[in-house]
């Protein structure tokens, strides 16, 4: 699951890069950037939640 979270974060970054490279309008760029950041935060939460379960198993 941690790998899935990290891949999700990487995907968010790709969305951000694509928005910077291909979009010229400031509004659409902002929208895609916020979406990309949202995906990254989602990935971070998945990673952190996985840690909780992993520690629980160890206990």
């Amino acid at each position: 699951m941690r790998v899935a979270g990290l891949l999700l974060m990487l995907s968010g970054w790709v969305i951000v890069l694509t928005a910077v490279a291909l979009l010229s309008s400031q509004t659409s760029r902002t929208a895609f950037l916020v979406c990309g950041l949202g995906v990254e935060v989602l990935g971070l939460i998945v990673c952190l939640r996985f840690s909780v379960r992993e520690e629980g198993r160890q206990r």
């Binding site: 941690r2 990290l6 968010g12 990309g36 206990r59």
Partner: protein, 425 residues
């Protein structure tokens, strides 16, 4: 730069190691007494390994802002990804004072970045493993992001190439040094897991307080002149800020640290009835970290506000990460360096004077790169290294204390160390 500016930069540069020494003391004091000699020796080893690997490999990858790099062109825009300097010290040009000073500052910066994850792995991270991780940080992770920001890479060119303000602004390393170090600390805590008996079967976290708060607070005081010098030297060397702004940078650095300390003090006093000294120390360091992003471009009032927010963020994220997400980070490195570093970068977009349209977008792209590229890459390289060379000491070593296990002698041999004081009875 004028000769006077270069001379001032040299003096400032010689003060930067104070910040490194202060950080080492904070790390040592916040660990347990039976691992404090190991913590201080690890600090020296990590600084040495970082310096050697950065000079031999990392500096070539990092490059300089006015030198060409390796990149690609997409939709008529250039994307500069890697520096094109030579490896093995061939890039050092003794005849050019500014590039030599810039190289020296980057060297101190990588030493500081390498110290940050050390505190997160306190009491359980083997000496050899922390050196391996540092070698990876100094030769790959820090130079890569550093080139994008300070070496004329694609983040620095967001303004010129894509119309995003003045490009990604990171005056003295809130992102490049602190956030990269803090993110490495998070990856290391994930790989190492929590300390023995840190969490009870019920899921409740055990408090393992730092063994010497006097050392911690002395380290905090020592950091202030070092951090002022770091901020001023970074602003002058990386962004050609005039000498006249150096007093403002010093004042803003102090105000940011002061605001963060007082916010942490007030909040812990309000929540726990008494101020918590170690959290206040974290607040002080976090304020200094946040000031590194934009102390030259914000007003003193904005610096104070930045510090106040940083202090509040630290208190809540330390608690949240430890209690809700089982991140055992003895010195709060993730909160102090990653969270406040990112907040500092965002505050540069919010408060910077004479801000050009799109500055906040450039800052957000930088933060997205830290989270979406640097964190997965850091975890991946450390995971690969751990597969080859075990990171964590064994259970016996942890029970005995890492000082006795790895060094054969404790830091305080005349004291009786109770190895089982946190064992559940």
């Amino acid at each position: 730069m004028t000769e006077a500016s270069l001379e001032l930069c040299l003096v400032l540069l010689l003060l930067v190691p104070l910040a490194i020494a202060g950080l080492s003391l904070v790390n040592g004091g916040l660990g347990r007494s039976h691992s404090s000699a190991h913590a201080m020796l690890s600090s020296l080893c990590v600084v040495s390994v970082a310096a050697i690997f950065y000079l031999f490999v990392g500096a070539g990858l990092m490059g300089y802002a006015d030198e060409p790099g390796y990149g690609v062109t997409i939709a008529r825009h250039g994307w500069n990804w890697f520096g094109s300097e030579n490896f093995f010290l061939h890039h050092l040009d003794a005849g050019h004072a500014q590039s030599a000073l810039t190289g020296a500052l980057e060297l101190f910066a990588v030493a500081m970045a390498a110290l940050i994850p050390l505190s997160a792995g306190a009491d359980r991270w083997r000496l050899g493993a922390s050196s391996v991780s540092t070698a990876l940080l100094a030769s790959l992770l820090y130079p890569l992001f550093g080139h994008w920001v300070w070496g004329g890479g694609w983040l620095a060119q967001l303004g010129a190439q894509h119309g995003m303000g003045r490009g990604f602004l990171d005056m003295s390393g809130a992102g490049t040094v602190q956030a990269v170090g803090g993110i490495s600390a998070l990856a290391v805590t994930w790989l190492l897991g929590p300390r023995r008996n840190k969490y009870l079967k019920s899921g409740m976290a055990t408090a393992i307080p730092g063994h010497n708060i006097v050392i911690v607070l002395f380290g905090c005081a020592l950091m202030l002149p070092g951090w002022m010098a770091l901020n001023a030297a970074g602003a002058m060397l990386f962004y050609q800020v005039p000498v006249g702004l150096v007093p403002l940078i010093a004042v803003n650095t102090l105000l940011c640290g002061a605001g963060s300390l007082l916010a942490a003090l007030g909040l812990t006093r309000w929540r726990f009835g008494k101020p918590d000294a170690s959290l206040c120390a974290n607040g002080w360091v976090g304020g200094l970290v946040a000031s590194s992003a934009a102390a030259a471009w914000i007003s003193p009032l904005s610096a104070l506000l930045t510090g106040l927010v940083a202090g509040v963020l630290i208190i809540y994220t330390v608690e949240f990460l430890e209690l809700k997400f089982f991140v055992d980070d003895p010195a709060g490195a993730v909160s102090v360096h990653a969270v406040t570093g990112i907040w500092g970068l965002l505050s540069a977009g919010i408060f910077a004077r004479d801000a050009v349209a799109g500055q906040m977008l450039a800052q957000l792209v930088g933060v997205a790169t830290l989270l979406g590229c640097v964190l997965p890459l850091t975890y991946l390289v450390n995971w690969c290294a751990q597969c080859v060379y075990r990171y964590r000491i064994d259970d016996d070593g942890e029970r005995l204390g890492i000082d006795l296990h790895e060094l054969g002698a404790g830091a305080y041999p005349e004291f009786v160390v109770h190895g089982d004081e946190f064992i559940q009875r």
